[in-house]
């Protein structure tokens, strides 16, 4: 189906991209994974987490510390980044999930900011705001084309996992909880357990994204944990449309490209970005993904519609 063609296209695209294009594409895929992880919570459970940066950063720092202090090879750090972020999500989720809506959002924000403060102040361990640098993986992992394929592979894994999750009984349970919590619980679905598991999965995938980003950028800084990093996941998701499965990934790509292109051409990029987002919200509420789907649906019927004049 469509998903498979999408990935095949990305695979074929690889050798055609320039060095810079490969870096951008890798970054877009990483941001896409991060946004899709956020959307697992947002779309399936209705939870708006403003603390995803906590897990993104945990994964990034796990990778950075293992590589820089422990001398670990980069690929080996990825499962650990995944696990550490999952653990962080377990703790933070355990404390936050019983809160509702805006309070849940704010508590996740608070925890992320606390982690940021720790990374910032624990100078001896994390390097504070000097960060941890020189994180280019040695050997083939440091090459742009290979790294792109590695990121693409992990992105595909994550996406297929989320796709399967959505169609599983677990996914149905989550949506039931989202739509009508009382009824779902009455049927015997354990709200807390389900939500916590979703939170942990989301956190773990975010951590993986963080580790990949750190190696791509060759450095990790406390700002990986800052709330603006959480906002990126949210913005990318809404831009692409949270109702469409791949919406967050599309939104992430567009968001990244926008930032790069607009920034290259004007110093007033916040104005342009803001105006674009404004137009999106007012006129394209389903996001770009939703727009694309609608157009795809209307297109074959175009001739007939034209004839009937509507």
């Amino acid at each position: 189906m469509r998903l498979l063609w999408f990935f095949i296209a990305l695979v074929v695209l690889g050798p055609w991209l320039s060095e810079y294009g490969l870096k951008l594409a890798s970054e877009a895929l990483i941001l896409g994974l991060y946004a899709m992880a956020f959307n697992l919570l947002f779309r399936q459970t209705g939870l708006l987490s403003f603390g995803q940066a906590a897990f993104f950063g945990l994964g990034a720092y796990t990778m950075a510390l293992l590589v820089a202090r422990g001398g670990w090879p980069f690929p080996a750090t990825l499962p650990l980044a995944f696990l550490v972020s999952a653990l962080g999500a377990l703790v933070i989720g355990f404390l936050s999930i019983r809160l509702s809506r805006i309070y849940f959002t704010m508590l996740t924000l608070a925890f992320a900011q606390l982690l940021y403060a720790v990374a910032h102040k624990w100078y001896a361990f994390t390097g504070g705001d000097n960060g941890i640098t020189d994180l280019r993986p040695p050997g083939i992992w440091g090459e742009s084309l290979f790294y792109y394929y590695a990121v693409l592979f992990l992105f595909a894994l994550g996406v297929f996992f989320l796709w399967a999750l959505e169609r599983s009984p677990f996914g149905y349970a989550l949506r039931a909880l989202r739509d009508n919590r009382a009824r779902a619980e009455a049927v015997g679905i354990n709200a807390f357990g389900h939500l916590l598991l979703a939170f942990v999965i989301s956190g773990a995938l975010s951590g993986l994204a963080g580790a990949l980003q750190g190696a791509l950028q060759r450095s990790v800084f406390p700002d990986y944990l800052f709330w603006t990093r959480s906002a990126e996941a949210i913005l990318a998701t809404i831009l692409g449309g949270s109702g469409v499965f791949l919406g967050p990934a599309i939104g992430a790509t567009v968001f990244l490209l926008l930032r790069v292109v607009v920034q290259a051409n004007t110093e007033y990029w916040p104005f342009f970005l803001g105006t674009l987002l404004l137009l999106m919200v007012l006129f394209f509420p389903k996001g770009l993904g939703g727009l694309a789907l609608e157009m795809a649906r209307k297109w074959p019927k175009g001739e007939r519609r034209g004839a009937s004049g509507s």
């Binding site: 320039s18 060095e19 810079y20 870096k23 951008l24 970054e27 910032h120 102040k121 100078y123 504070g128 705001d129 000097n130 960060g131 640098t133 020189d134 994180l135 280019r136 980003q213 950028q217 060759r218 450095s219 800084f221 700002d223 790069v260 920034q263 290259a264 110093e267 990029w269 916040p270």
Partner: protein, 396 residues
């Protein structure tokens, strides 16, 4: 006979074209957010230097093309933009950088792509202590600032010191370097209080009262930018500056700070700023200030002069190397005991081991005069470069 004419013409044409091909310099400055003023100064200084260089025929006969980019003070953006400059714009050099974290994030790229980076603002000592072959800093760093401050502080008749600084690496390390060096020079000093407001705080009242309570004789601070403007106003309202004998701030004489404070700036603050436009009273400096004022309608702040001097120094190195190739420029910077350049602020000398430039630093006491709408420095004390040369772990 005409067989060789066309190829010769072609070769000449190519050589001419090559010589006309500009030397591209990608400059990263913080042009948005709270520190946009500093980035603007820096980019303006660089621009003035580029124009001057091109007016006299460029470097090695080639014009300088300056491409200025906003790094937003964000390391991720900095890395992305630096990559774009290197891979898409094909710059020969990276330049500028205000934020220390951005400079540390971009530094590994110099090794990966063999593109030299000339830093003109970012002040963390760590940058040059990493001993990278293609990273150069033509402005002074925070350690030099602290050592100069300590050299001055050692001559002051006070023993009880306190600190109020922004809670991040710059504030922390500056204080550490200062107090460690001061204790070496004056073992009798004692620390009575340390205050660490969050970087970007807008309310210092609680910190000010806590600080005053400890009754320090002198206070060291590296609050800068908006933080310093706000702190100075609030502290003045508390009569804070009347209760301490000396208030030292190595970055307090920035025009970005003294400008907004205007006539409200407290007098008698002992401040420095890496460059003060009224010192030295040389033709070179006066010409620079005049040219900058004419071009941009304002006095040059330190970041403007550092960027200006940095670009000229880079041009000097390229000329000495007779090439823009990274290793040649590196050798040019290091040769003959280290490149020397006479900047408007004075003599800049680059230490070959760590590529860090050393220069004299001017300090002074703030004073209002009718000639300027902001406070200027009087009773200036010059700390010679030799007082700020700290040992480095780099070797050549």
């Amino acid at each position: 006979m005409k067989g060789w004419f066309a190829p010769l013409l072609l070769a000449l044409g190519l050589a001419l074209a090559q010589s006309q091909q500009p030397i591209k310099i990608g400059a990263l400055f913080t042009l948005s957010g709270n520190f946009a003023g500093y980035g603007k100064s820096g980019s303006q200084g660089a621009q003035l230097a580029a124009e001057e260089i091109n007016a006299r025929g460029g470097v090695l006969g080639r014009p300088i093309q300056l491409i200025v980019v906003d790094d937003q003070g964000n390391p991720d953006v900095g890395v992305r933009e630096a990559r774009r400059l290197i891979l898409q714009e094909k710059v020969d050099f990276l330049f500028g950088i205000d934020s220390s974290s951005v400079s540390l994030a971009v530094a590994p790229l110099t090794d990966e792509y063999k593109i030299p980076l000339v830093v003109t603002h970012a002040a963390t000592p760590n940058l040059t202590e990493q001993c990278r072959p293609y990273v150069f800093r033509t402005s002074n760093n925070a350690r030099m600032d602290s050592w100069a401050a300590a050299a001055l502080a050692a001559t002051l008749p006070v023993k009880r010191w306190a600190n109020i600084g922004p809670d991040y690496e710059f504030g922390r390390v500056s204080w550490q370097d200062f107090i460690t060096r001061l204790k070496q020079l004056r073992p009798d000093v004692e620390v009575v209080s340390e205050q660490w407001p969050r970087f970007g705080s807008t309310d210092y009242a609680s910190f000010i009262t806590a600080l005053t309570r400890a009754r320090p004789e002198a206070v060291f601070s590296t609050l800068w930018a908006g933080d310093m403007v706000i702190f100075a106003r609030q502290a003045k309202q508390f009569g804070f500056f009347n209760q301490v004998r000396y208030f030292m701030n190595p970055v307090g004489a920035a025009l970005e700070v003294l400008g907004p404070l205007g006539k409200e700036a407290p007098e008698g603050l002992l401040v420095s700023a890496r460059y003060w436009f009224l010192y030295p009273n040389t033709e070179r400096n006066k010409a620079f200030v005049e040219a900058y004022r004419k071009r941009f309608g304002e006095y040059p702040s330190y970041n403007a002069e550092e960027a200006y001097a940095g670009l000229h120094m880079l041009a000097r190195a390229i000329e000495k190397a007779r090439s823009t190739q990274a290793d040649a420029v590196k050798r040019a910077f290091e040769a003959d005991g280290g490149l020397v350049y006479e900047a408007p602020e004075g003599r800049k000398w680059m230490r070959p081991e760590d590529h860090q430039v050393f220069e004299g630093l001017v300090w002074g006491y703030t004073k209002h005069t009718p000639d300027y709408p902001f406070a200027i420095l009087e009773r200036m004390r010059i700390v010679p470069a030799t007082d700020t040369i700290y040992p480095t772990r780099c070797k050549r």
